[in-house]
C-alpha cells in the first residue's frame, strides 16, 4: 500500500538542507522523518511534516510539561485535546471555551492578524456545536513611546472589533498592557465561549470506513502558506519584508458558516467535525483520522479553490480562513449540501476515511503524499529542553521605597499611567451588548453574561496574568495568574469552574526562557489543583522574541477563567452604591511593594520578589466573600490587584460616581499599605450595621478584615491631605488612552 509517492508533471524541487531548514525542520528531525517513511519525501510530504512537527501543532517543547496541569473535575466534560474545553453548567447545558494566540500574524499585519485570531477561536467553539455568546481579548503591546506601538494598538483593536461586531458576539472583557519587552512582538490572545446542550457536542474523532469527508465554507487560496511555520519562527529584521501572503478575515463568511453548521447540527448528520486552523487541511484531516484510528484519502482536485493552478503542496498548507472539514453520514449528504447552498457556502466531498491508517493525498490521480497517519502526530519530536530556574529576587522592604509627598497625588498619577488608565477607548469599539444578555460590561472585575432573559443562571468570565510577576518569579507568577482569575470571578459572586490558558513565552531553546515556562506551568498547576479550577483547553505560543534586541517578551501565561452564578440578581459590581456605606478590606495588608505598580511608576524601579500567593488563604478569603455576596450582605465588591488598595477604591468610586472618606491607618508605612499588592484581598462595602457584623464574622473565621472608611461625597479624602475630586480623577483616568491614540492609524 505504500506506493511510493512521486510527482511527474512538474519538476519537483530538490530537497536540500536549505529547503529543509526553510521548513523549520532541524536536520535530526528530518532524519527522524526519513527513518519513519523509509525514503525521501515529496515536496508535499515535506510540507505536511513541517506543519505537523512544528512547535505550533506538535507542542514538542511544551507537551512534557503541560501534562502537569490538572484537567479533571466532576463538571469537566472535555478537557484539553479537542477544539475547545467543555464544562457542565447544569440543566443539560455546557459551556465550551478556549483561548488562542495570534501574536506573530498580528505583529505583521495588526488588523488582519487580529481578525483572523478572533475568527479562529470562534470556529474552535462552534465546531463543537456551541453558539458563541461571549468573547474576550488579552492584548500586550510594547512601550507606548515605541514607534510601532500606536499602529499596532489601532490595528489590533479595530480588527478584534471588526470581526466580533460583524459576527455578532459580544466582546465583554479582556486586558491591555504596555511594556517595552513587547516592543518587537505584541501579543493578541483571543477567547471565545459558547453554549451547547450536553447531549449535542461534536468532536473531531472520525468513525467508520468509507465515510465521505466534506469540505465546508470559503474557498482555498494561497493565504498564509507557512503561517503555522511562521508562528514558530523568531522575528528578525527581515521578516518585516519577507511577508507571507497574509490571511484576511471574512466575518461575514464565518457568520454564515456558524448558522449553516448549527442548522446542520440540529439533525443527526455529522460523524466528526474539525475546523481548519493553522496548517489548514493538513492538521484537520490528520487529526480526524488519527483520533479515530482511521486512514484518510483526499482528492485535491475537488477542493474549492479561489485561485487557479494551486498545487497539492499549497492546498495542504493553505491557511485560508472560514473553512471546516467534516465526516458526514453518507445518507445525509444531500440534506447537508442543501443547507450549505442555502447559506451560500461551498460544500464539496473531497475524500473518504479508509482502514489503512495512511494519509494519502491525490491530485488529479497523482499520489502527492502517502504517510502513516498516526505517526505524523505520535512520532512528532518531543523535547525535554534544558531549563534553568530563576534566582529568587530579594524582598523589597517598605522603608527602602520612598514615600510620595502625597498619597492622593500618587494615586492621581497612577490612575493616568498606561497600565492603569481606563480601557474605555478599547472596549467601546467592541459591541459588548449584542444578544442582550451582558449584565456586567467591561470595566468591572469579571464580565457577567446571563444565559437568557428568563433565568437566573449566568456565567462570569475574566482574562488575567501579571507578566512582571511571572518574570520575577515564574512559579509564584503562574500561581498568581490563576488566583487572580479565580478572585475576579469570586468578586462578582461567581463560583469559579475552569480555565483555559494561553502560554506566551520566548524561545524554548534558551534554558532561561524554558525555565520561565516550566516555572509558570508548575505554578499554574499548583493553583489549579488547590483551587479545584482545572484547565480544560489552552494554547502555547513560543518564540515570542525579537532577534534584533535579543529580548524575549515577558513570560505571559494568560488565564481565561470561567465561573457560574446561579442567580445573577445577587451578583456584585464594583461601583459604590450608597453614601454612608462602610468600606472594608478582607485579606492581609502587609504592604508588599516588590514588583508593584507603585514601585515602577512612582519610584522608577521594576525590582524585587512579587507578592507571594498563599492558595489556602485565597480559597478561604474568596469563599467568605462569595458567601457574603450571595447572601446580599455587601453592596459592592472589587478584588485588589494592580496598584493596590487605593487604586481599587478609586475604581469603585469612579464606577459609582460617589467618593470616599478614608481613615488614616495606624501603619508604619502608609504608602506601602495603600499601594502594596498583597494577594487574596477584596474591597467591599456594606451598610454600617452589616459591616460591623461582617467584620466580627471575618475575625472568627481568621480572615483579616479592616475598616477603611465611608462612601461619601464627590471626592476621595484621606487623612489630612487635600481631597481628590472624582471629576479630576476621572479625567486623568479616562483621557490617557484617547490622547495617546490621537491621530493613530
Amino acid at each position: 500500500m505504500t506506493a511510493q509517492a512521486k510527482r511527474t508533471d512538474v519538476a519537483a524541487p530538490q530537497i536540500t538542507p536549505e529547503l529543509i531548514a526553510a521548513h523549520g525542520l532541524k536536520p535530526d528531525e528530518y532524519q527522524r522523518f526519513i527513518a519513519l517513511i523509509g525514503r525521501e519525501p515529496t515536496m508535499t510530504e515535506l510540507g505536511i511534516v513541517s506543519a505537523m512537527w512544528n512547535e505550533h501543532c506538535s507542542y514538542k517543547s511544551s507537551r512534557l510539561h503541560l501534562k502537569k496541569l490538572p484537567t479533571k473535575a466532576p463538571w469537566v466534560i472535555q478537557g484539553p485535546g479537542e477544539n475547545a474545553g467543555v464544562i457542565d453548567i447544569g440543566d443539560g447545558e455546557a459551556a465550551i471555551f478556549k483561548m488562542e494566540s495570534h501574536n506573530h500574524p498580528s505583529y505583521i499585519e495588526p488588523f488582519q492578524g487580529a481578525t483572523t485570531g478572533v475568527g479562529g477561536i470562534l470556529r474552535d467553539v462552534f465546531t463543537m456545536g456551541a453558539r458563541p455568546i461571549a468573547c474576550m481579548n488579552a492584548l500586550r503591546f510594547g512601550a507606548p513611546e515605541h514607534h510601532k506601538t500606536k499602529h499596532l494598538v489601532a490595528g489590533v483593536v479595530a480588527g478584534v472589533g471588526a470581526y466580533g461586531n460583524s459576527f455578532g458576539v459580544p466582546t465583554v472583557g479582556g486586558e491591555v498592557n504596555f511594556h517595552t519587552r513587547y516592543d518587537g512582538n505584541c501579543l493578541v490572545n483571543a477567547f471565545a465561549l459558547g453554549l451547547a446542550k450536553t447531549d449535542a457536542i461534536f468532536y473531531a474523532k472520525a468513525t467508520g470506513v468509507g465515510m465521505p469527508i466534506v469540505y465546508l465554507g470559503s474557498k482555498t487560496g494561497r493565504d498564509g502558506i507557512h503561517g503555522a511555520t511562521m508562528a514558530s519562527a523568531e522575528f528578525d529584521e527581515k521578516s518585516d519584508e519577507k511577508r507571507p501572503t497574509v490571511q484576511v478575515g471574512d466575518p461575514f463568511a464565518e457568520k454564515l458558516l456558524l448558522e449553516a453548521c448549527l442548522e446542520l447540527m440540529q439533525e443527526d448528520t455529522i460523524i466528526a467535525i474539525q475546523d481548519m486552523g493553522a496548517a489548514g487541511l493538513t492538521c484537520s484531516a490528520v487529526e480526524m483520522g488519527a483520533k479515530g484510528n482511521l486512514g484518510i484519502e483526499l482528492h485535491l482536485e475537488n477542493v474549492p479553490c479561489r485561485e487557479s493552478g494551486m498545487t497539492a503542496y499549497e492546498m495542504m498548507l493553505s491557511e485560508s480562513q472560514e473553512r471546516m472539514l467534516m465526516v458526514l453520514k453518507p445518507e445525509k449528504e444531500e440534506q447537508a449540501r442543501a443547507i450549505f447552498r442555502k447559506w451560500g457556502l461551498d460544500f464539496a466531498v473531497i475524500g473518504k476515511t479508509t482502514d489503512t491508517l495512511r494519509f494519502v493525498i491525490k491530485h488529479n490521480g497523482i499520489v502527492e503524499a502517502d504517510l502513516p497517519i498516526k505517526e505524523l502526530g505520535d512520532e512528532a519530536p518531543l523535547y525535554d529542553r534544558p531549563h534553568e530556574k530563576k534566582k529568587a529576587q530579594v524582598m523589597v522592604s517598605a522603608e527602602s521605597v520612598p514615600a510620595p509627598n502625597s498619597l492622593l497625588g500618587a494615586l492621581q498619577k497612577l490612575m493616568g499611567t498606561p497600565d492603569l488608565a481606563s480601557r474605555r477607548w478599547v472596549w467601546e469599539q467592541y459591541d459588548h451588548i449584542i444578544l442582550g444578555n451582558t449584565l456586567q460590561r467591561p470595566g468591572g472585575d469579571a464580565a457577567v453574561v446571563r444565559l437568557d432573559m428568563n433565568r437566573g443562571k449566568a456565567l462570569a468570565m475574566t482574562c488575567d496574568v501579571t507578566p512582571r510577576y511571572c518574570s520575577a518569579d515564574p512559579y509564584e507568577g503562574g500561581k498568581q495568574a490563576v488566583a487572580e482569575a479565580w478572585r475576579n470571578i469570586t468578586a462578582v459572586g461567581g463560583e469559579p469552574l475552569a480555565i483555559t490558558d494561553n502560554l506566551n513565552f520566548g524561545s524554548p531553546e534558551r534554558p532561561e526562557i524554558m525555565g520561565e515556562f516550566v516555572g509558570c506551568v508548575e505554578g499554574i498547576a499548583e493553583a489549579c489543583k488547590v483551587l479545584n479550577f482545572p484547565v480544560v483547553s489552552g494554547n502555547v505560543s513560543l518564540y515570542n522574541e525579537n532577534k534584533v534586541t535579543g529580548a524575549a517578551i515577558l513570560p505571559t501565561p494568560t488565564i481565561g477563567g470561567v465561573g457560574i452564578l446561579p442567580d445573577w440578581k445577587k451578583m456584585a459590581t464594583i461601583a459604590f452604591k450608597n453614601k454612608g456605606d462602610v468600606i472594608l478590606v478582607f485579606g492581609e495588608c502587609s504592604g508588599w511593594l516588590g514588583q508593584s505598580v507603585y514601585l515602577r511608576e512612582i519610584a522608577g524601579k521594576e525590582t524585587g520578589a512579587p507578592p507571594p500567593v498563599n492558595l489556602e488563604t485565597e480559597q478561604r478569603n474568596g469563599d467568605f466573600v462569595r458567601t457574603l455576596i450571595r447572601s446580599e450582605r455587601v453592596t459592592a465588591c472589587h478584588d485588589c490587584s494592580d496598584g493596590g488598595l487605593l487604586v481599587a477604591i478609586a475604581e469603585m468610586a469612579l464606577a459609582g460616581k460617589i467618593g470616599a472618606a478614608l481613615e488614616s491607618q495606624n501603619v508604619p508605612h502608609p504608602h506601602a499599605f495603600w499601594f502594596g499588592e498583597d494577594q487574596a484581598r477584596y474591597v467591599v462595602t456594606a451598610n454600617k450595621a452589616e459591616a460591623e457584623k461582617i467584620v466580627a464574622e471575618a475575625k472568627k473565621a481568621n480572615i483579616p478584615a479592616l475598616r477603611l472608611g465611608i462612601v461619601q461625597g464627590s471626592a476621595i479624602a484621606l487623612g489630612g491631605e487635600a481631597s481628590l475630586e472624582l471629576t479630576t480623577l476621572a479625567e486623568t483616568h479616562e483621557d490617557w488612552f484617547p490622547n495617546y491614540m490621537k491621530g493613530g492609524f
Binding site: S166, G168, F252
Partner: protein, 232 residues
C-alpha cells in the same frame, strides 16, 4: 401587533429585536428569509434588524436593499404598513429609498458601543406614543457607520416636516457636539417617512428593555407599537 423580522445573511440582532417585540406584544414575530418573495399574511410591522448584512461590504445596507424580500417590503410601506429599521435596518431603508439620506462612517471613524441619550421629538407616532414629547431616554448604540448625511434641502425638509423622531442629546436633553457621537447632521438618530409609518434609527431600543441591560429606555417604543395595534 403581528410582526415579521427580516433575516439577511449577516443580520445579527434579529433575535434581540424579535425578543423585544415579543416581550411587549406577547406574540412571537415571524422570521422571514431575505430570499423570500412575499411577506406572510396580515403583517402589521416589518422589522429590519441590526447586523452586518452581506458583511456590510460595498456600502452598509446596499446589497440587502436589493434582496428579493425588499420589493414586498416596499409594497407594504406603500400600503401604509409599519416598517422599523434599526441600525443596519436603518441603513437598508436608506439604501432602498424608503428613507432619504445615507449613513456614513462615524466622524471619528471608530465603531462605538455605548449608552447614549436620545430626545423623543414627537409622541404622536406609532413608535413613540408611550413616551412624552421631549422625553430623554437612555439606549445603547453599536455601530461604525451611523453618521446621518443628506443634502441641505432634504435636511431642511426633514426638520420642517417634523420627521426627525430621535436626536442624540446630553443627559439634560440638549444637543451638543459631544453627545452627537457619530457626527450626524442635526444630531439625527432616527427619522420617519412622510406618513410617519417607516422609522429608521441607529440606536438599539431592543437592547434596553429591562434594567439588567442597563436601561429600559427602549421599552416604550415596543409598547407604543403594541398600543397602536390596540387602537387600530
Amino acid at each position: 401587533m403581528k410582526s415579521a423580522v427580516i433575516v439577511f445573511p449577516g443580520s445579527n440582532r434579529e433575535r434581540d429585536l424579535s425578543l423585544a417585540l415579543e416581550k411587549a406584544s406577547g406574540h412571537k414575530s415571524v422570521m422571514v428569509w431575505h430570499g423570500d418573495t412575499a411577506l406572510p399574511k396580515d403583517i402589521d410591522l416589518v422589522a429590519l434588524p441590526g447586523g452586518f448584512s452581506y458583511g456590510d461590504y460595498l456600502r452598509c445596507g446596499a446589497i440587502a436593499a436589493r434582496a428579493n424580500i425588499m420589493d414586498p417590503v416596499r409594497e407594504h410601506a406603500k400600503r401604509g404598513g409599519y416598517v422599523l429599521g434599526v441600525c443596519n435596518g436603518f441603513q437598508i431603508l436608506c439604501e432602498s429609498g424608503l428613507l432619504p439620506g445615507v449613513l456614513q462612517r462615524n466622524a471619528k471613524l471608530h465603531f462605538i458601543c455605548r449608552d447614549v441619550h436620545l430626545r423623543v421629538e414627537r409622541n404622536d407616532t406609532a413608535f413613540t406614543s408611550a413616551y412624552q414629547k421631549g422625553d430623554v431616554i437612555k439606549v445603547p448604540v453599536a455601530h461604525g457607520e451611523g453618521n446621518y448625511t443628506a443634502d441641505a434641502e432634504t435636511l431642511k425638509k426633514l426638520e420642517s416636516d417634523n420627521r426627525i423622531l430621535f436626536r442624540y442629546v446630553n443627559a439634560n436633553g440638549e444637543t451638543d457636539e459631544r453627545s452627537n457621537i457619530n457626527g450626524a447632521s442635526l444630531s439625527i438618530a432616527g427619522i420617519t417617512s412622510e406618513n410617519g409609518r417607516v422609522l429608521g434609527m441607529m440606536p438599539h431600543p431592543e437592547n434596553a428593555i429591562e434594567m439588567p441591560q442597563g436601561s429600559t429606555g427602549g421599552l416604550g417604543m415596543f409598547q407604543s407599537l403594541q398600543n397602536t395595534r390596540k387602537a387600530a
